[in-house]
């Protein structure tokens, strides 16, 4: 699914678009979490076509996406974004959006429309 379709499905507002051409790019996987170490532990592939959904509205959601080479981030529940995140957006190559849906709803909408869960490293949890 194209990024612009995901944006439309989630009724998402652009906070920062690094490169307009990204809207035409295919994204077929998603991962949702508010815990950044979980993202770092569980996301092992598909980074270049993965959208990260999180309720974490501070700069660490951007840093986590940066470390994982993820360039599509959606902050859920229409949360007010922290000043440190807003002030730092220009330093990251990460297309950042805000959706009014909760993480559960946003994940459900994408799943229903064919976005798949990315492979996760189940062994790490023992």
């Amino acid at each position: 699914m194209k990024a612009k379709e995901i944006v439309e499905l989630l009724n998402a507002k652009a906070i920062h678009v690094h490169d307009e051409s990204f809207l035409e790019k295919e994204y077929n996987f998603a991962f949702s979490s508010d815990l950044m170490s979980d993202c770092l532990a569980m996301i092992v592939n598909n980074q270049d076509e993965l959208v990260l959904l999180t309720g974490l509205c501070n700069i660490q959601s951007l840093r986590t996406a940066e470390m994982l080479d993820i360039n599509f981030l959606v902050i859920t529940r229409g949360k007010k974004l922290d000043q440190d995140l807003l002030q730092s957006l220009g330093d990251f190559n990460i297309n950042t959006f805000s959706t009014p849906y909760t993480t559960f709803e946003a994940s459900g909408i994408l799943y229903k429309n064919g976005i798949k869960a990315t492979d996760v490293d189940k062994e790490i949890l023992g």
Partner: protein
């Protein structure tokens, strides 16, 4: 041989990860493979976060030798890790409420650090903790 030293401050949640970001950029500049950079960046970010949320900041030393081996040293003077086995257990965390609000405390930090590094050494006492990570780039 290239060596760089960075300082991180205690409880500086806003800048947490900045050093790892600089290291990631440095690795890109010298042309390291992207998947290797990602491994190093994740391990470095987790270790940097640990220094900020559990210790009182400290020093990160990044070096790359002529054989393409990257070494990262994370040295703090914090209270040390009382039980390494527990700390290495996936999901076990002692992060404060402040740290949790920043998205930390999943209990996956040390697990991720060890998993993504080629060599892992942890020394801890009541005077501080030093983690040394090695990565083969070539």
């Amino acid at each position: 041989m290239l060596t760089k030293k960075y300082l991180v401050k205690e409880k500086d949640y806003v800048n947490a990860g900045k050093v790892s970001s600089l290291i990631k950029k440095e690795l890109k500049t010298i042309g390291v493979d992207e998947s290797v950079i990602r491994k190093i960046a994740i391990a470095s970010y987790e270790a940097e976060i640990n220094m900020i949320i559990h210790a009182n900041g400290g020093e990160i030393i990044f070096s790359i030798d002529d054989e393409g081996v990257i070494t990262l040293v994370f040295a703090d003077t914090g209270p040390g890790i009382p039980n390494i086995e527990l700390a290495m257990t996936p999901g076990w965390s002692t992060a404060s409420d402040d740290a949790r609000q920043m998205g930390f405390g999943a209990g996956m930090g040390l697990v991720n650090i060890k998993r993504y590094s080629d060599t892992f050494d942890l020394k801890t006492s009541q005077e501080g903790t030093t983690i040394t990570l090695g990565f083969k780039v070539i």
